[in-house]
Symmetry: C2
Subunit: 215 residues, 2 copies
């Protein structure tokens, strides 16, 4: 009994399928989005389509730090900025981590984006991250972007405070141990603005362990 | 202190902006989606871009029932199917309602998609829906698609059981009152497979009011 009307036109089905493949978007959300795009002003799907094409056409990774940059601007704005402290490199997992740190305005050194973290369960090993490039930057300071050649003397590990982030930090520390660089990691403790009674045990333990003298 | 690195490349920002405009997608989800699209195989954003362009290029509304159809197939598959009961029209708010009903395989008549519901608070009045076209279909059976000319004798109101859906049904019933058609609406009661203790008062009231004799 179910006729051809029981399905959407093919183009709608295809869009729903593409949208459902995105992380966090289930079948129902994809349908809702597709209908929004169908009934919106024609400019809405068109602008989104163009934005998607532009993404690949104009965005590239910096060959030094692996952060996102406009194609044609390599090294990126940070790596080619000689006013920054070129002796310090902060290692993060993802470009968005870099952006979050940069937005604090509290860090003036360079970055290195690993493009992920070690995750044996997901089959992500050292070769899948940009670790070799990081070691290169330390071993060959002339491959480090910018005008002058300044050797890296400190590597700040800015991985996520998770099991996998910690594992990756440990691996990096091992790799870096034989090199003449200071290795540090971002501080742990209670997040500013939070309430102590709601902090988890690990955060409280970190806060106790890393307690600082005052006054 | 915050340098150029504190922002994404322009193309990434544009994509995040476009994605954030979609219903149910906030700034954080849009960022996550954009990064997924950046790091996925190139085919992923490309396929989505093409799906969006195809949407407008190949999808149209049926000129009889307003359901979605492939451009070039007008009237749609349902409206041009002469094996269906052409004397009954089921009125729904959206194409997805039609699809849900059609998938039950329990309805063999025609449909009419209002493309919304009356919503005075959102400024949606009768002129914004396809009500005039519905009245046309009743008054002029030859504008009803299909081969033979069969007059519509029953209009089933299949609007959502909500305040606005009920308001719209009431308005339609008034418009149809002067015409020689039977007006019905979809039954209300307890949803099959649900548990009585979790039903809301309105559903329980409907179930009591519409109780059916057995055996």
């Amino acid at each position: 009994m179910a006729g051809n009307g029981a399905s959407y036109p093919e183009a709608v089905d295809r869009l729903i399928a593409r949208l459902s493949e995105l992380p966090g978007i289930g079948r129902r959300s994809a349908e809702r989005l597709a209908f929004h795009l169908l009934t919106a002003e024609p400019e809405v799907p068109d602008a989104l389509s163009v934005a998607l094409t532009d993404l690949r056409r104009t965005v590239a990774h910096c060959s030094v730090c692996m952060h996102l940059t406009d194609r044609g601007k390599d090294p990126c704005a940070i790596c080619s900025d000689n006013r920054r402290d070129r002796s310090t490199v902060l290692v993060v997992e993802q470009p968005r981590d870099l952006i979050a740190l940069e937005q604090t305005g509290m860090y003036a050194g360079l970055y290195h984006v690993l493009m992920g973290r070690l995750s044996p369960l997901d089959g992500i090993g050292p070769g899948d991250l940009t670790i070799a490039r990081l070691l290169d930057r330390i071993d060959a300071p002339d491959s480090n972007g910018g005008g002058g050649v300044v050797a890296i003397s400190e590597v700040v590990l800015g991985l996520n405070p998770t099991l996998e982030g910690d594992g990756t930090a440990l691996y990096l520390a091992e790799q870096l141990a034989s090199r003449d660089v200071k290795i540090t990691r971002l501080a742990r403790g209670l997040p500013s603005g939070s309430e102590l009674e709601f902090a988890n045990k690990a955060a409280l333990a970190d806060a106790l362990h890393g307690r600082q003298t005052m006054g």
